[in-house]
């Protein structure tokens, strides 16, 4: 019995030694995974830490091409069915300043990818990651959070609201239809 144990010990040690942490020592920054968890609150016990950022976010945000692609996908994947052209319907308004789950690129990306409990479907299996980032960039433009030099311009379709690059402020709204 004791002999057997004595033989097992080195074997176990050897096995443990094999389970070394694998890590990429030179990650390619432009190819972020978009997989890291994004907190839905700014309350953090022990004091607020900087929330994780994804390098991809920066490359998609405020990019005119990505935003216009995002706008096309917004109709293509029926986001517009639930959120209308940003004013909301079955889902909340996306063009206002009120955010349930955060307004950062990362938060919006996580919302689209993973869904949210009160009826936002999870599109992670339907939409490729890059296109989710494009949608996130457009959602930010809808809320007036993109530079007007890059945000999408006038629609070819029915005038549903002023174009994203010149949306009026929510506070200056007219009172009557």
């Amino acid at each position: 019995m004791r002999r057997a144990l004595a033989m097992l010990l080195p074997l176990t040690l050897a096995l443990v030694a094999c389970q070394r942490e694998e890590r990429d020592t030179r990650p390619q920054s432009a190819l972020g995974s978009g997989e890291q968890p994004t907190p839905v609150t700014t309350l953090e016990p022990g004091g607020q830490r900087p929330s994780p950022t994804d390098n991809k976010a920066a490359s998609f945000e405020a990019n005119a091409f990505h935003m216009s692609e995002g706008k096309r996908l917004f109709g293509w994947f029926n986001c517009s069915g639930c959120h209308a052209n940003g004013g909301g319907g079955m889902g909340p308004a996306l063009m206002d300043e009120k955010w349930i789950y955060g307004s950062s690129m990362e938060s919006i990306h996580a919302t689209i990818r993973d869904g949210r409990p009160n009826g936002m479907p999870s599109f992670g299996q339907k939409i490729p990651d890059d296109q989710i980032w494009e949608l996130a960039a457009f959602v930010r433009a809808l809320g007036g959070n993109a530079p007007s030099s890059a945000a999408p311009q006038r629609n070819d379709d029915m005038m549903v609201h002023p174009s994203e690059n010149r949306l009026p402020d929510a506070a200056t709204l007219g009172k009557s239809p």
Binding site: G88, D157, V160, S176
Partner: protein, 626 residues
Amino acid sequence: MKGMLHPAPARVDAGHGARALATENSFRTGILSVMLLACGLFLSGASEPASAAAIAPPAAAAPPDDGQWTMPAKNYASTRFSELSEINEGNVKNLQVAFTFSTGVNKGQEAAPLVVGNNMYIVTPFPNIVYALDLSRPGAPMKWKYEPNPEPAAQGVACCDVVNRGAAFANGRIFFNTLDGHTIALDANTGKPIWNTHIGNINIGETITMAPLVVKGKVLVGNSGGEMGVRGWVKALDAGDGHVVWTAYGTGPDKDVLIGPDFKPHYDMDRGTDLGVTTWPPEAWKIGGGNMWGWISYDPELNLIFHGTGNPGPWNPDLRPGDNKWTSGIFARDADTGAAKWFYQWSPHDLHDYDGINEQILLDMTWQGKPRRVLVRPERNGYLYILDRTTGEVLSATAYGPVNSSKGVDLKTGRLIANPDKRTGTGKVVRDICPTASGLKDWQPSAFSPRTGLLYIPHNNLCMDEEGVEVNYIAGTPYVGMNVRMIPGPGGNRGAFTAWDVSAAKPAWVLKENFPVWSGTVVTAGDVVFYGTMEGWFKAVSARTGDLLWQFKTSSGIIGQPITYRGPDGHQYVAILSGVGGWAGAIVSGDLDPRDATAALGFVNAMKDLKNATTAGGTLYVFRLP
């Protein structure tokens, strides 16, 4: 505000109120005798010669009033008429609050409270809590509550706020539906669940918002989801154990629609084999709508139930050439088996989201000298139809407000004559289409008084611009394909309350309201009509003249269904749920952004100022005389 277009017919004799009181249980005799005296005095003073033009619901579908309110429509004929008359034109101005109750849910309150014995039952919007209040005790304290805890994700697939239109009572049980597709039976005394049947799947966009109707031991339920590419159905569940007895689909092959040898539609356009397949592009019927989220009536003598079918999907008509049977129409079905007897299509190949699910009031009347059994339907497409309910023949179809999307109904073929100028399609913006997608009237049910012969119709006055767009079908997401923006209709008043003379086929009087009248209504033998406005006013008007007799400002906009009942103390009460929302009020209950004209499928554009007029809420108000 109001125009007298037509003299109101004479009132029938005063017998009604007295009879209702005479059937009262004897345990309240003390108060009762005083009441009888008071009512007798009033009624004899007010009685006039009986009107000759008898128009009344069939007795079997509208039995004498017992002072309770056991189903949202009051009775199987769906009259929403109460024989109670303690509250009348003369004294309604004295109404005051008896008690209030917060539902704890700030979404659109479309439900009708129920009153059975000493209890009141209310069901809230999502999360569909059911409360029982004890009316026999001061302040009507809560007796029990039941929380079904529906799946939160259901909120995302409910097209137009997360409403619920009420419960139904039968045989000691309360039956109701949850947004996530369950029908539940509760013990009315204890609130304990008896059965719970899961019949709707939110993952394909199915929800349930309608109030069930219980007929001959079966609970009739239909699904919502016409904006999500959901195939419509009506199911009959056994009231005893909840198992599904039959299912009748709104599209597809005849056997799914329960069309068999008994099916005899009146018009050629509805005859043929498997029209629910052949009037669609290949396979489109599987995601074609035809949902049943509205009202069902029942005629015990004919043993028929009557129910409408919702809009075809998607809204963009270019994507579904054909008549799109059996959407936007009405079925008469055998109450036991569900077998279809006849069908009539209000809006073949619907162009504008004209769901056909509104209430149908069953009446017996003289039509062109002959007695006819009819059903009266104020339809979403803007016409007030009178149909022979034994055959489905259209006797008349008269616009009851501004309509330009069609040019009338061809009474020979039965077909709606669509206006080509207002035809929508992909890539073009068509302007000023009246009525809107929400119809001249949406779900908000009307009431009929046999004393006045008038149908009291709460409705909208809106027009819209539409543009068809391409849309992909992705299960569980919207399937609409239309940009819509609504605007106020002619005159600028966005709502109206119309008293319609059914025999004369014209309005008796019309009240204009600033916002759509999205509430139901109730009319009483005291000749008082109650309805609510989206600003929050609860109004009582004269059933004969429309004169405003009393109003009370509730805490939020009203889109609920008023009811009236006799309380345990023998006195008459009026109850209404206040709490804005629904499609019309989604801008407030969903906090939508008015900068987007297409928000809430275009309704927000016509309701931009609602946020300044009211805020979300959810409160029951009950009124009585001092």
